[in-house]
């Protein structure tokens, strides 16, 4: 019937929009996951060592 078509189209396009939104969210989740993977790695001792040395140097230099 004529009246059903726009409703059907609307429903379809809103479902497509939901799906697109879900996919964008999914990509966002993965993006954070990729970043957090590195954030959660233990910090290599080298970083702290460098900072310690800098600390001594700066108090030494005054």
């Amino acid at each position: 019937m004529i009246e059903q078509r726009p409703i059907e189209t609307r429903r379809r396009s809103s479902a497509a929009m939901d799906e697109a939104r879900l996919r964008q969210q999914a990509i966002g989740v993965r993006l954070r996951q990729m970043f957090d993977e590195v954030v959660n790695e233990p910090v290599p001792e080298e970083f702290l060592e460098i900072l310690r040395r800098a600390d001594t140097r700066s108090s030494g230099n005054g």
Partner: protein, 203 residues
């Protein structure tokens, strides 16, 4: 005021500000490493970059105002460092964008989930400015205003870069435009979706 003409050698002198600054800086190291990894790809050069940025931040601590956003400040230092090094190496060896982007897709963990691998490849296909905007806002947890400050551009520019990056990345993953032999694109998207659904039901 830190520093002075007098020699403090052998004297354990730390201002309260220095101690607080250092504590906060140490907490930011994991984030600096993660951001550097998205710029360099190769973990070893990423750590070199993160260390350089950490030292630059430490040396410039007098110009930092405690209580303001140190994360954004250090990210800005790291980003400037990355681009100034890249400019130098361009002059020296004509290193092209392509080489830099090849390192971004380097995967050192063969067990890494396939979809993450594809996401990295998809990211590598985006223009650098879109990629960094998306990473800062989408993964780094920065507001548009902060990302704009880090990248030295207008807030509106960041917004449009992020939205273009999202659309492009979606299209790349969907259509399988990334360079991956054999595997179908929809596999990547299915895997991403399954993960997202699992995560959303857990919450």
């Amino acid at each position: 005021m830190t520093g002075g003409p007098e020699d403090r050698r052998g004297v354990e002198h730390h201002s309260t500000d220095d101690v607080a600054f250092k504590r906060e800086l140490v907490q930011l190291i994991p984030h600096l490493r993660a951001f550097a990894r998205t710029l360099c790809g190769d973990p070893a050069s990423a750590d070199d970059l993160a260390q350089d940025a950490m030292m630059k931040a430490w040396d410039a601590r007098a110009s930092f105002q405690m209580g303001t956003n140190m994360k954004a400040w250090t990210f800005m230092i790291l980003r400037n460092q990355f681009y100034s090094e890249k400019r130098r190496s361009w002059r020296q060896s004509q290193l092209d964008q392509e080489a830099a982007e090849r390192t971004l897709v380097a995967v050192d963990d063969p067990e890494a989930p396939v979809a993450l691998d594809e996401l990295r490849q998809g990211l590598a296909m985006l223009p650098a400015e879109q990629r960094e905007a998306l990473i800062l806002v989408g993964a780094g947890g920065f507001a548009y205003e902060e990302a704009a400050e880090i990248c030295g551009c207008a807030v509106g520019t960041v917004k449009s870069r992020v939205s273009r990056a999202r659309r492009a990345l979606h299209a790349i993953l969907e259509e399988g435009a990334y360079d991956r032999d054999g595997a179908s694109a929809s596999d990547a998207m299915r895997s991403i979706l399954a993960d997202a659904e699992r995560l959303s039901t857990v919450r």
